[in-house]
């Protein structure tokens, strides 16, 4: 029997603000599970999903768990492809500097930290999405 592992391209599409619904947190949990199975995983943040990566989230006042720091662990799970929709940022008056930085360590280059975030247009995103085997929307 061959033990070849089948690797598929998984894209997680995040479209909701972090605390108003449970979607953002649940998506993050599922992403980490998939990553553990050595799949080709990418994350996309569009529409209100871009708010998930906002810096300086302070949730003490609403009594909910602040899971924003978990995104910085994605690199350790070999998740190196984070796509952020440019138009979604613009219509919210936001720029990349409002979002946290996400990196991964390249073991082939003495663990140098590399940027995981790619700012993309809708048309670029459309192309990338079209190449996926599985797209899961949250």
């Amino acid at each position: 029997m061959s033990e070849d592992v089948i690797t598929k391209k998984f894209m997680y599409v995040n479209r909701k603000s972090p605390y108003g619904t449970i979607y953002a947190l649940e998506a993050l949990e599922v992403v980490l599970i998939t990553a553990a199975f050595d799949q080709d995983v990418s994350l996309t943040f569009i529409d209100d999903g871009v708010y998930q990566l906002m810096k300086d989230q302070k949730t003490e006042g609403i009594g909910m768990k602040n899971f924003s720091s978990t995104y910085s662990a994605l690199g350790d799970y070999e998740i190196k492809k984070i796509f952020i929709d440019k138009e979604s940022l613009e219509e919210r008056g936001l720029s990349l500097s409002d979002l946290q930085e996400l990196v991964w360590e390249d073991e082939d280059e003495d663990y140098v930290e590399k940027n995981s975030i790619n700012l993309v247009s809708r048309s670029e995103l459309s192309e990338i999405m079209n190449k996926q085997d599985v797209v899961l929307s949250f």
């Binding site: 810096k55 300086d56 219509e91």
Partner: protein
């Protein structure tokens, strides 16, 4: 009669904010909570709607919900009053009734 309207949805998600404002009567107030607080941020696609609502109504936003989402108070539209849970309670008692838009 004066009514307190609360809105808990992002303006990007559906038409709640526009519907609410269009049905607000004189002397009404609007309080943005949960994802609704996104509505009161400067430089968004919906900032103008709030800016014009401010001419006719009092507009409030709940600070704990802004803080949770990393939305800086410096970027809140001028004229919007930032309130905490205690003022939220005061607002509900000061108005004759509360309409919670869902």
């Amino acid at each position: 009669m004066n009514m307190l309207h609360t809105v808990n949805k992002s303006p990007f998600e559906n038409y709640t904010v526009s519907s609410c404002i269009s049905m607000c009567a004189k002397d009404s107030s609007i309080l943005f909570i949960e994802d609704g607080v996104i509505s009161v941020m400067k430089s968004t696609k919906f900032s103008e709607i709030i800016e014009s609502a401010l001419k006719n109504f009092k507009v409030y936003a709940l600070k704990p919900d802004l803080d949770a989402r990393g939305l800086s108070l410096n970027n809140v539209i001028e004229g919007v009053e930032i309130v905490g849970y205690e003022e939220f309670v005061d607002l509900t008692t000061e108005h004759d009734s509360v309409q919670s838009w869902l």
